[in-house]
């Protein structure tokens, strides 16, 4: 019966394409919006990943820190206390804060400043495009991310030696790096810790985070627990800190809700289009189903036919929708683009499940209609 079901479906080109387009639209909207949401959430924690890549496994911070930009300064003593925890191999300073850059033309630009441990440069940018990381040891030296460079000097080819001011101190770009896009879109400037303190107004406590590494062979979570119990600081892994940051934005902003609405709308509109068209297709063929019933086709066979039809249009619609969403993602992640997009496998599976639900909802209505149709309907003129 399967070939009959497929021929019935594909024989009605208009409705066949209509159902596929409805499902493709839903699939596209769900996958694309969910991926943009994931991309935005990744941006909120991008700097943690960048520092993590060439940094330490443990982030120690004030207990009240809620996310990566919520800086609650620590004292130098906190650094020494972390270093004193059994199981900690080493621990270094990290400054993170916002400062104002002043350009040669007099313009100002808010900038994210990262001060790395002078001796080890732990947390340095993972991908250098121009210059050398070790030039950070020069006086007034900073490394800027490429996107930030383009933001400050649009249209200019990146070059080292460019100068600007922070807190009335001259900063000279000695390197251009690739960094994860930030949620605030501000330029990211890396420098040494002691140099960073020159670029910000003086405060009694300036240490933002302590980056630490457990001794080889020790469980990182166990070392975190020891740091927390002995220093009263909060100690988490980079991955945990990423989730803490993302969960903050999910809880405290309307971003998930707004994207959730769009995803839900995609689901509802897709379901409405697909279910209605599929149902109309079934109604249009109800006499044929009645005839099949009269000729001895059982309800299970007919339900199987409808399920097969629904599965076919769902698979094609899903493939089209995911394909277009991926194509959008390809464009969104071009270096020239500032769009957020990240499609993890969970989005792929989630969209597939949503399309599966649309398919089931669509076919259930049709199946119910076919189940109750009397074969005697074929004798009605």
């Amino acid at each position: 019966m399967s070939w009959i079901a497929l021929k019935m479906l594909t024989g009605n080109r208009g409705k066949y394409l209509g159902i596929i387009l409805g499902i493709a639209f839903a699939s596209l909207l769900i996958a694309q919006q969910a991926s943009i949401f994931c991309g935005l959430m990744l941006q909120t924690s991008g700097q943690i990943r960048d520092i993590d890549a060439r940094g330490a496994d443990i982030w120690a911070m004030d207990r009240n820190v809620q996310f990566s930009d919520d800086i609650k300064p620590l004292s130098e003593n906190d650094l020494y206390r972390v270093r004193g925890v059994p199981g900690v191999s080493w621990a270094v300073r990290l400054y993170k804060g916002l400062t104002r850059s002043r350009l040669a033309d007099g313009n100002f630009q808010q900038t994210i400043l990262l001060g790395l441990d002078d001796a080890t440069l732990v947390g340095a940018p993972p991908n250098m495009i121009l210059g050398s990381l070790f030039d950070l040891r020069k006086p007034d030296a900073v490394i800027m991310d490429l996107e930030g460079y383009h933001l400050l000097w649009p249209g200019e080819k990146p070059r080292i030696g460019k100068r600007f001011e922070m807190n009335d101190h001259v900063a000279e770009i000695v390197g251009i790096c690739k960094a994860s896009r930030t949620f605030q879109t501000f330029p990211v400037v890396y420098t040494r810790y002691t140099q960073a303190l020159e670029f910000v107004p003086p405060e009694r406590k300036v240490l933002s985070f302590v980056l630490a590494q457990p001794q080889p062979g020790l469980d990182v979570h166990e070392v975190c627990r020891r740091i927390e119990s002995q220093t009263n600081l909060r100690a988490v892994t980079g991955k945990q800190f990423e989730w803490i940051t993302m969960m903050y934005f999910m809880r405290k902003t309307g971003i998930p809700f707004n994207f959730g609405i769009t995803v839900a709308l995609g689901f509802i509109v897709g379901t409405a289009i697909a279910a209605q068209t599929f149902y109309l297709f079934t109604i249009e063929n109800i006499k044929q189903y009645g005839a099949l019933k009269a000729m001895g086709a059982g309800n299970w066979s007919l339900m199987g036919m409808i399920l097969l039809q629904a599965m076919l249009v769902s698979t094609i619609g899903f493939a089209l929708g995911i394909g277009v969403a991926s194509w959008f993602g390809k464009i969104a992640t071009l270096p020239s683009s500032r769009l957020a997009f990240y499609m993890p496998w969970e989005v792929f599976i989630g969209t597939g499940l949503a399309v599966g639900a649309i398919s089931i909802l669509s076919s259930v209505l049709s199946m119910q209609r076919v189940m109750v149709v009397e074969p005697a309907v074929v004798f009605q003129g």
Partner: protein
């Protein structure tokens, strides 16, 4: 009573069929008695709403009578569950519908193959058997045509091939000539008569078309849910003998 020596394929006794309840109750059949013989054409005639189609549906195992007994091909249909009646129809009944009810996306051969596919035959085997049958019926050059590419008469031939392909003992036809011109209608009835005689099948036809009454071996006139008269036509002289 019937002048036929063979056993009837269908025996209806005091068949009552009522739709709805209370004020909405409709008595479609009010105690119908009818015998249908193999190798013959039995026609049910009468005004619209007289119960012809309901009787056809009951005899074909589509509807269950409210009371009375219906025996078809040695099977008491009133005792069968819905699932068994479906299986009964699958094996023993061929249907020819007024509007042909061919699947528009399937070719003539594929349409005619549908009952075999329902029985579980592979597509290849079913279409091969259906193609043979259609060729025997003079439709060999139309096997790959879609219903929309066929004339009304050709579509009805495909529908008849579909009704015969699985070798049923009972053929039920609902207004088989109403969508056809006079000449084509006669040709279709000639075909049905041949099918009845050569296959020793019971053919039951519901019709309004008095131009085809001459093909009936038995003519049952109905009104208001009852059979008013049963006439037996003798082939050749067409004289009413009962």
């Amino acid at each position: 009573m019937n002048g036929n020596n063979s056993q009837p394929s269908i025996v209806c006794r005091n068949v009552v069929k009522t739709y709805g309840t209370g004020n909405a109750e409709v008595h479609a059949l009010r105690g119908v008695n009818l015998d249908v013989y193999p190798g013959e054409i039995t026609m049910l005639v009468g005004p619209s709403g007289c119960g012809k189609t309901t009787l056809l549906s009951v005899v074909a195992g589509i509807l269950r009578p409210t009371s009375g007994s219906v025996s078809a091909i040695d099977t008491d249909l009133t005792k069968l569950s819905g699932w068994r009646r479906t299986a009964f129809r699958r094996r023993n009944v061929g249907f020819v519908f007024q509007q042909f009810n061919l699947l528009p996306a399937l070719t003539a051969a594929e349409n005619a193959a549908v009952p075999l596919v329902i029985q579980g035959y592979s597509k290849r085997a079913a279409v091969a058997r259906a193609s043979e049958l259609l060729t025997e019926m003079g439709m060999g050059d139309r096997l790959r045509n879609l219903p929309g590419q066929l004339s009304g008469g050709q579509q009805q031939r495909v529908a008849i091939a579909r009704a015969l392909v699985h070798g049923p003992q009972l053929l039920v036809c609902d207004e088989p000539t109403s969508a056809l011109d006079h000449k084509t209608g006669h040709a279709i009835l000639e075909l049905l008569r041949t099918i009845a005689i050569e296959g020793d099948r019971a053919v039951m036809i519901v019709t309004h078309d008095n131009r085809i009454f001459e093909f009936a071996d038995t003519l049952a006139r109905m009104d208001d849910g009852r059979i008013l008269s049963i006439g037996r036509e003798k082939r050749g002289d067409r004289a009413l003998i009962a």
